[in-house]
């Protein structure tokens, strides 16, 4: 009879399905990092002078910085000179206008990943920007969105076509001096997505970026910037995968969100970078800076993340609640198994009056996984009437994994309300037995229990993503009843 422990191991050791490599000719800069490399990247992207200057300023600042060590993660020193900072499939010309210009191998890759780029095969209601290593391969539904004045496409293209918009907001939420990894990104960022939703427009479809790392020993440094003008609404999805390789690869992205008066941005991530093998060999080092600024009154930014991949996750999607009555939300599921390590959470910075924030974090640890929630709630002096509610739960599967919670709290006004709840539980033998006695296999039982644990977060995800997220956790889909 299989014991629940071995069933947990089976679930934890499921194979990574996206580990294949696409054979494409690439245009790659030499390994290493110096000003010449940065100039080369900027030149390849035909960037204006101001952007090159910004990159160089970032690089010079980065040289004065030290890699942070405060996170609860452990890894050998990263050799930043050994990595390659730019790699693009050759068949994608900058500014390729149609799919005919794209290498069929690449299209096949996305089909294999379940992301067909031909519009008629796409899920209606989701526009995709596909990023392959350092460049954007294709963006779908651009014209349809354009009719509404919505700009959606690759970052490089936005720099060429809407330089004023990009210049106005780039670095306005995450300054180039922000932190070691964000500063590195500012120096070498390759591509990513840009989105602008004009005044009063409600984006009629989900916008989505799908990131794929393919090349060996290449870092991915994409940058995403989303601006919702007054009264606008946009829901944005992000997905990511990478081949299985036995060396570690660096991913250091920056995402900036700006919401003006009465605007709303919903940002959802299902992160499934290659987590490394059972012994902890290989996998992506994911050092990501994500931050949103609720600049306007009554604005709202909502982060939802499902983190199942990467060898190391270092990520704190945060909200600066500047406008009065603005709202920040963070819903997170982080799963670590085998030797994965995650140190993730959020920062809610209350500046405006009557600002509100909600934090719901669900950490699941299996195998030797280590899962840390790290969150900060800061309520500044002028933020009268601010409210925060935090709830951090941890679930342990097995007895070799760990869960840690570090909530930080700083309240500088007496007129604020802060609530924090936390729990740690072990998946119960008695829960598993109860399910099995009713006829469910141990694996289904574990899936169901884990899924139930995450429900509060899953229900924040758009439908298509909720399905993917549940599958990712090795669970069958919850029915429409209940």
């Amino acid at each position: 009879m299989p014991t629940p422990q071995t069933e947990i191991e089976i679930l934890a050791n499921r194979e990574y399905k996206y580990g294949f490599v696409t054979d494409v000719e690439t245009d790659t800069v030499p390994a290493g990092l110096n000003e010449d490399i940065i100039r080369a990247i900027s030149a390849k992207k035909q960037e204006p002078e101001w952007l090159l200057d910004w990159r160089l300023k970032s690089f010079r600042h980065w040289l004065t910085m030290k890699e942070p060590t405060w996170a609860n993660i452990h890894y050998p020193p990263i050799d930043y000179q050994a990595a390659t900072y730019y790699s693009a499939p050759k068949m994608v010309k900058p500014g390729a206008k149609s799919l005919e210009d794209v290498d069929p191998e690449l299209l096949k890759t996305y089909e294999k990943l379940g992301i067909p780029l031909k519009e008629r095969e796409l899920l209606a209601g989701v526009a995709v920007d596909a990023v392959f290593d350092s460049v954007s391969v294709a963006t779908t539904f651009k014209e349809k969105l354009g009719e509404l004045g919505i700009i959606f496409g690759s970052f490089s293209e936005a720099v060429r076509e809407y330089p004023d918009l990009v210049r106005k907001y780039l670095g306005s939420v995450v300054p180039y001096t922000d932190n070691f990894f964000a500063t590195l990104n500012s120096a070498v960022f390759s591509d990513g997505s840009f989105c602008y939703v004009p005044k009063g427009v409600r984006c009629p479809m989900e916008l989505s970026t799908y990131f794929r790392i393919n090349a060996k020993d290449t870092g991915q440094f994409e940058r995403t910037l989303i601006v919702a003008d007054e009264g606008a609404y946009v829901s944005y999805l992000e997905g990511c995968t990478a081949p299985m390789r036995d060396t570690n690869q660096l991913h250091a992205a920056v995402v900036e969100l700006v919401a003006l008066d009465n605007a709303q941005i919903k940002y959802s991530t299902v992160q499934n970078w290659y987590p490394g093998d059972k012994e902890g060999k290989g996998g992506i080092y994911n050092f990501v800076t994500k931050r949103g600024k609720c600049l306007g009154v009554n604005s709202k930014i909502s982060w939802t993340q499902v983190e199942t991949g990467s060898a190391i996750t270092w990520k704190y999607p945060s909200c600066i609640l500047q406008g009065d009555n603005s709202i920040g939300e963070f819903y997170s599921v982080a799963l670590t198994n085998n030797y994965q390590q995650a140190d993730t959470g959020t920062k809610m910075i209350h500046i405006g009056k009557n600002t509100r924030s909600t934090i719901v974090s669900k950490g699941i640890s299996a195998g030797h996984g280590q899962n840390t929630y790290r969150g900060a709630v800061k309520i500044l002096k002028g933020a009268e009437g601010a409210r925060n509610y935090s709830n951090c739960d941890s679930l342990l599967l097995g007895d070799k994994c760990g869960a840690h919670t570090f909530p930080y709290l700083e309240v500088k006004t007496a007129k604020a309300t802060v609530e924090h709840e936390a729990s740690t539980s072990k998946i119960g033998e008695d829960q598993i037995f109860y399910c099995r006695q009713r006829g469910l296999s141990a694996e289904d039982a574990i899936g169901m229990i884990v899924n139930g644990f995450c429900k509060q977060v899953f229900r924040e995800l758009p439908m298509e993503f909720a399905v993917e997220a549940q599958k990712l956790l090795g669970v069958s889909l919850e029915g429409s009843v209940g």
Binding site: L440, G452, C454
Partner: protein
Amino acid sequence: MLRIKNLQAKVAGKEILRGIDLSVNVGEVHAIMGPNGSGKSTLAQVLAGRDLYEVTGGEVTYDGQNLLALSPEDRARAGIFMAFQYPVEIPGVSNMYFLRSALNAIRRNRGLEELDAIDFLALAREKMKGLEVEEGLMVRPVNEGFSGGEKKRNEIFQMSILEPRLAILDETDSGLDIDALKIVANGVNALRSPERAIIVVTHYQRLLNYIVPDFVHVLSGGRIVKSGGKELALELEHRGYGWLEDAVAAGQSA
């Protein structure tokens, strides 16, 4: 249907069952009574396949097959249901979804078509009648925040949906007031059938006023020390368990 021969089991190194012999035929209702610590619940758990208990000897056959070789889920799929003394909470999983998944796992195993949400809802509504299970209970997470009575009613409700061939009620009466007890007993009685056997594990005779057994067995020190008809339960009610235990002790020393 169920043949238990010289069954012995221990938990955490401690011997609990010391040779149980029991035969249950289809259509029969058996009550297993006994003082605390006599092994009643252990017997129920061993039959359901809880791996906390180590079977150290004896055999159990169910419809002719070796029950002890089956996993808990295979026993459930073969028609064995246990109503738990302490039903377990599963946060975030709706009762309805849980039960439909369980039913479909069993149906798949039997080569039957799975029920979709709509058909299941119709079935559930049908079975709710008489158990005073409110529909609201169905969309709440499994047993979470249920009162003691709601949990027990939910067990019987699950039993009525899964329609087992052999139902084992493990101290289902514990913690119930008289009204809740009657509801639960009515639910069980509705399931009495020539196609089904029921084993009622209980400490008190009270439940047996409502679920009248065909046979009563008294467990003491991990063995069945006396078996009889329903009147044995009444005798126990009057005389307690002490006289039986004394008689057993005398028999052993003689």
